[in-house]
């Protein structure tokens, strides 16, 4: 191959290349031009957009609230949004419950606890197209600050708690954004069990709810349950304080089991081990012997029972009462039952909204009671059960199904969901129970029932160390283990009695719910330790 040839060839090649390159360049230039044009157009577009968006300061995600400034802005509660507020411009903070965009409008439902209101962002002289788009893209459960004017509506908004007004949003800022994917939908979590299946809609199973308790607790049902529970506690405290009771605090880490010992949790305690208290009874009784006269305490109680039922928890809140009485332990029964009646009345008269809210998801009959509380004797209960065809011995304890049946029989005759069963056979009660003075087979002890389920077990306690020792020996209890208990009665002890109820159980039965986990905020059972 000669140089020329080579050259020629290269030239040719070059020519060819240059031809190709030219074409390419041309193409690229065209492309670039197109791109530039596009970019220019886009830029122009953007420019026009930015120019168009007159509302750009009226929405957005402001910097995280780090307490940069202390705004003196009055925020309105959703429950206060009534027609009287019509045409006022207000600020409020709420969660976005749902959002639904429709052309130039976006409908939001804003929620605060069990209250919600409809809000409208619509393209107009106050809101731009971009603002509507932004509002439509806010994720459910995000927290927003909204400035809006309140407007009366012509047709009631059936889906909201505030049915007579809606909000016309003028500004909307996201305070805290929720992740787009929620582990459960609030609307699904409050759907009554049967309804979901019929309409092919989802319901949420209990474990999912409990695993994501933070979201589940936001539902109207949960809000109502736990607000009602708080009131039960408050009414318990108020009523007893008015009756002259003193609230006491008892230790939860104890050295010996108070009852038997089989059902206690062991915890390591430095070089030795201790137990979690399964009842404050011993301490309540010691306070009585220490002249506090009437005491109550509200606190956690632990039971290491591996029972996975609808009504057992391993940790629950105990409401415990103990009082000295003058001559008859019925003074104690009357104090306890009256406290319960005051709680029931307080709920009946002031918590109808919450009760109705829970009923929407879990329908039940309203809780009925008598004042003063009905008191039946154990022998009567046995006779009623015999009459209903149940075979049981006179001194046999009531089985759970028999308790339920008895509850139905009592309800039918007396129309009450709450009653006391008095005078249990001595044989089925703990050793510290005072025997009946006239019939040694029976005892001065009582159970209280709500909707046929036992909520309280109590008795006059033996306050005489000698009788207590006899009873303990009769029950074959190691006297060494209960020495300190017996000793606390050696220096003069007033006759006394008491009992304890579980807060969760009372709430569950009052509301007619079927699972105690619904009335425990963060339930503990043999299979659940979190959250």
């Amino acid at each position: 191959m000669t140089k020329d040839e080579v050259q020629g060839a290269t030239e040719e090649e070059q020519q060819a290349q240059s031809k190709k390159g030219l074409k390419k360049q041309q193409k690229e230039a065209e492309k670039a031009a197109k791109k530039a044009e596009k970019q220019a157009k886009l830029a122009a577009d953007q420019q026009t957009t930015e120019e168009d968006d007159f509302a750009k300061d009226q929405y957005g995600v402001p910097p995280m609230v780090q307490s940069q400034q202390k705004l003196d802005r009055a925020l309105v509660r959703i429950q206060d949004l009534t027609p009287e507020k019509a045409d006022q411009l207000i600020w409020l903070r709420a969660r976005v419950h749902t959002s639904r965009a429709k052309g130039k409008q976006c409908f939001l439902v804003l929620r605060q606890q069990q209250f919600n209101v409809q809000a409208l962002v619509a393209v107009g002289d106050r809101a731009s197209k971009q603002m509507v788009k932004f509002a439509a893209n806010i994720t459910k459960e995000s927290i927003v600050d909204v400035e809006a004017s309140v407007r009366k509506v012509e047709q009631k908004i059936e889906s909201c708690s505030q049915q007579d007004v809606e909000l016309h949003v003028e500004r909307i800022f996201v305070v805290s954004q929720a992740e787009a994917r929620l582990p459960l939908q609030l609307d699904d979590a409050v759907r009554p069990d049967g309804e979901g299946e019929e309409e092919g809609r989802a319901t949420v199973n209990q474990d999912t709810k409990l695993d994501n308790r933070v979201i589940d607790l936001r539902t109207t049902t949960s809000q109502a349950i736990f607000r009602l529970q708080a009131r039960v506690c408050q009414l318990f405290r108020d009523t007893l304080t008015n009756k002259g009771f003193v609230e006491i605090q008892t230790p939860k880490i104890i050295s010996a089991a108070s009852e038997g010992g089989a059902n206690v949790f062991t915890v390591s305690y430095f070089k030795t081990s201790a137990y979690l208290a399964q009842s404050p009874q011993l301490y309540k009784q010691m306070c009585i012997c220490a002249d506090f006269d009437k005491v109550f305490c509200v606190g956690p109680v632990f039971r290491a029972e591996d029972s996975n039922t609808h009504r057992h928890l391993t940790e629950f809140v105990g409401l415990d009462i103990e009082m000295a009485f003058n001559y008859h332990y019925h003074e104690v029964i009357e104090s306890i039952t009256d406290t319960m009646v005051q709680i029931f009345k307080g709920l009946r008269d002031n918590f109808q909204n919450e009760i109705q809210t829970v009923n929407k998801q879990f329908p039940s009959e309203p809780f009925k009671f008598l004042e003063p509380t009905l008191r039946l004797e154990f022998t009567e209960a046995v006779a009623m059960l015999h009459e209903a065809g149940v075979e049981m011995g006179d001194e046999e304890d009531l089985s759970t199904p028999n308790e339920k049946l008895l509850g139905r029989l009592v309800k039918e005759k007396y129309d009450t969901d709450f009653y006391v069963l008095d005078k249990y056979p001595l044989a089925v009660r703990p050793f510290y129970t005072m025997p009946d003075p006239s019939n040694p087979k029976y005892s001065n002890s009582y159970d209280m029932f709500m909707r046929g389920e036992e909520i309280l077990s109590g008795a006059q306690r033996v306050h005489d160390p000698q009788l207590l020792t006899e009873r303990a020996v009769h029950h074959q209890i190691d006297l060494e283990k209960i020495k300190s208990y017996i000793d606390s009665f050696r220096y003069g002890a007033p006759p006394h009695g008491g009992g304890g109820i579980g807060l969760e159980r009372v709430c569950m039965l009052y509301l007619g719910l079927h699972n105690i986990r619904q009335t425990s905020m963060f339930p503990r059972d043999p299979k659940r330790l979190t959250p």
Binding site: H328, H330, F344, K345, R348, D349, P366, F367, K368, F369, L370, E371, P372, L374, R375, L376, E377, T379, E380, V382, A383, M384, H386, E387, A388, L409, E412, K413, Y414, D415, T416
Partner: protein, 262 residues
Amino acid sequence: MSMYQNGEVDPAVKALEARQDEIMRKLYELKAAVEGLAKTVTTPDADLDLTVSSSLSSQTLSSAAFQGTTDLDSLLGKDHGALRDIVINANPAQPPLTLLVLHSLLCKRYRVLSTVHVHSSVADVPSQLLSCLGPRHEDSYARHLFQLGFTLIWKDVPKLQMKFSIQNMCPIEGEANVARFLFKLLAAYPSDPALATMVDSWVDTAFFQLAEGSAKEQAAVLRALNSALGRNPWLAGPEFSLADVACYCCVLQCGSASSAPY
């Protein structure tokens, strides 16, 4: 009149006069007793006049009204060791006066455990309705010591209702019917069917025409009562019966007591 002119009185007439006086005395006592009870339930701040109601009970019981022993076992079925508890649901807007009278009669006859409750369907009940069965029995802490329970529950019921044995008996409705049931625990109905019907008829008259009737009907019943009591010492003949209790209570309730023939 001619007999008096002679200056001597026929002994038969004298006896008749004495008997009439006795009847009038009993009637006044009955009236006073029922008024006493009514006062405790219809007027505020009135205390239960126990002396009146107990005098009523002792009077009527000492009279020959209750012949023959009524056995609770035969009337209410066998006792299974439980208190035989009669539960009455009454609306506080219409206190059942007849049942309160019958209750005090029952208390004289049996060991009755009387309790008053307020049902949660009723918000507030005047205090005199809470004490309308008298003070608490001193033995009320031991239910098994009693023969009979009388449990009055003030409740939001359209019609008075009584429940006894829920297994074997349906609830009895209406004050008149409950009164019949309770009166049978005190005395058997007259064995003469005509007389028994008369008692029933008067009870119905009392509740339908006196308590619920128009002014015209009430006036007619008052006239009928007048003439019946003119003929006999008690409404249904020689013996005190439920008819007397029912009529008196209804006269009192319909507010025409002042124009009553008593």
